[in-house]
Amino acid sequence: MKLKKLEVLSKEEIESITSSALGILETIGIKIDDEKTRKICEEKGANLDGKSSFVKFPENIIKDLLKLVPESFKLHGPDGSFNFEVNTKTTQFATIGTPVRIYDPKLEKNKLKKSVLADTIQQIRVVDSLENVNCSHIDVWPSDVKFTAVHAHCLYQWAKNTKKPYGLGCLGRLASQDMMNITSLIVGSEEDLIKRPRLVGFMNPTSPLQLPKLMTNGLEVFAKYKQPTIVAPEALAGTTAPVTLAGLLAQTCAEIIGGIILAQVYSPISPVFFGTVSCATDMRSGNSALGAIESSLITIAIAQIARYYNIPSRGPGGVTESKIFDVQNGFERFSTMSLAAQAGINYITCAGTYESSLAEALELLVIDDELAGLVKRAMEGINVNEDTIAIELIKKVATSEQKGTNFLAESHTRKYMHKELYIPKLIDRGRRSTWKKKGSKDIIERARAKVDQVLADYQPYELTKDVDTQLLALIKEIEARPIELYMNAEGISGGSVNITGTEITIEKS
């Protein structure tokens, strides 16, 4: 049988937490900053609370909206040739993080440098080459690009450097609309983009119980274009949520469900992830502790609750607070990834990151791909049937008249070898002398060699000249925009904004 799913909540406990979450949404409500959105929610049956921004959702409204959430959806790469399904039963691995620094072995001291667009491109290329990590996201932040145009530059590079899907934050309606316009150009049409989603949006509620304006503005655009959105608060036990994990779960489920139903309010049947990056607080520093064992308990519980609602789940795995490539880095990344997978999280993210996902190492990215392979093998469990028990084979080998006969050259071994035994590429299991002969390299050095190979062999994907020209013109237009335009578009200041294909008029609230 396959590996049994890890559970930390009984059925009664799931019901207790979810009914508390729905109770929170009904009685306390969730704070929605955007006035227009509050009004749309009211039209759908939610109750507004006088002058406060809290919107209260009666339980029946929530349940009706949850019924609209798709159980599965597909994600496609730029040209549509690569795709995979996200559903409530399988596990996919992806990146995601917020690295602003990247490991560079050539540097003398701490070996970390500020990441630039060239690093973003390399990360996309490495993900493109991996077996198990199927989606890259805008996680290696390019510091050498105007920050209001990062999304445009990253999408342009995505189209040229991978066959896999991509993810970006729901960073306001203007940037999100840019993302849809750019991607529509890349894939050929808006219709194709809507029919075959390419982009994962991250929508992060702010704990406790707030859906910030920038995020809901972006969510509205992603929902309209039916691009799957990860609704994932980062509630910290003891700082932005109760220290009790049950309390955190009740609060964060209200936040997740709040975001999910809002996506349905904006556009029914919008694909979403029941997401989490909630974790423990380090009680010495106040920092988030993604690699803490309690963070994994939260991830396991969210996997269970997402299954309860039949919505694909997203959780972190391969995360650590370690700042170097030490044992802590190794055990936290494997522990979080393995537990998330065993819990049945459907989309495990953050491959390649460390230092609370603030730093990136392409070496860790390829190592995480291998860890994902190990974890996938573990999840397959043990296959028991007459052929795998192999009594006749045992008899044949054990009773062979030739001494020293073994199972190595048996057809049975060959038939099942790759299915039964995961054969790693980076993990060292050879003899010391062989290891020495190969240069006594540790796994980071071996991973570096693989990264160098991938980058040296890389062949970029071609865009047609026409699309390339249009994209470059669009990027130029986005680059030229003043920050005030963004502030207008997001309702931070009043005014109207006209971007390619879309006019947005905002009344200052």
Partner: protein, 216 residues
Amino acid sequence: MSIKDKIKELIVEWETERLKEYCRSILKNNEATASNLLKIIGDIMKFVGNQFEEEEIFLPELIGSAETVKVVIDDVLDPAIRAAGEEKETMGKVVLGTVESDVHSIGKDLVGSFLFSNGFEVYNLGVEVTANQFISKAEEIGADIIGLSSLLTMSMDFQKQVVDELKKRGLRDKYKVIVGGSPTSEDWAAQIGADGWADDAIETITLVKKLLDISE
């Protein structure tokens, strides 16, 4: 499909019986001589050995392919070469086994497959092989090399016994004796009066070629 491609396909699929049949039909139709086929098979096994070194294939694939080829050579090609009154071309003859009181076979099987893939004629005597068995086989087939494997510190002494027994019988200079296995070392080889030691299967090829004065 060329003869080489067909043979390669049958070797990597471990299709022993089909490969025998195919070789017989080639010989019968005079499409190639047994010596030609042996040369083709040698090239294919060299390729398979390289694939293993490059970590493109794994132990079972290497050893299984070598076993298939061994059976075909023993049953079809060797008899055909003898019938034609020809001498089989070989890089050298190696008698190989794990010494007395030791049942570990995988290491020396790998060495055997590698030697075989590199054109040597290999007589793999299995495990718990006594000094007498090693020497008798070497005498019988006119070996160039005797390879002694030991995976236990407790069985290492039996490697020395083989060397001593050769000396006792006045046959020491007739054969090159090589030793290997986890607990052994270059120092150990020197200590017991062996001619060489190799750390792994790949190094064994270099060692044997050096001992037999075969240029790389």
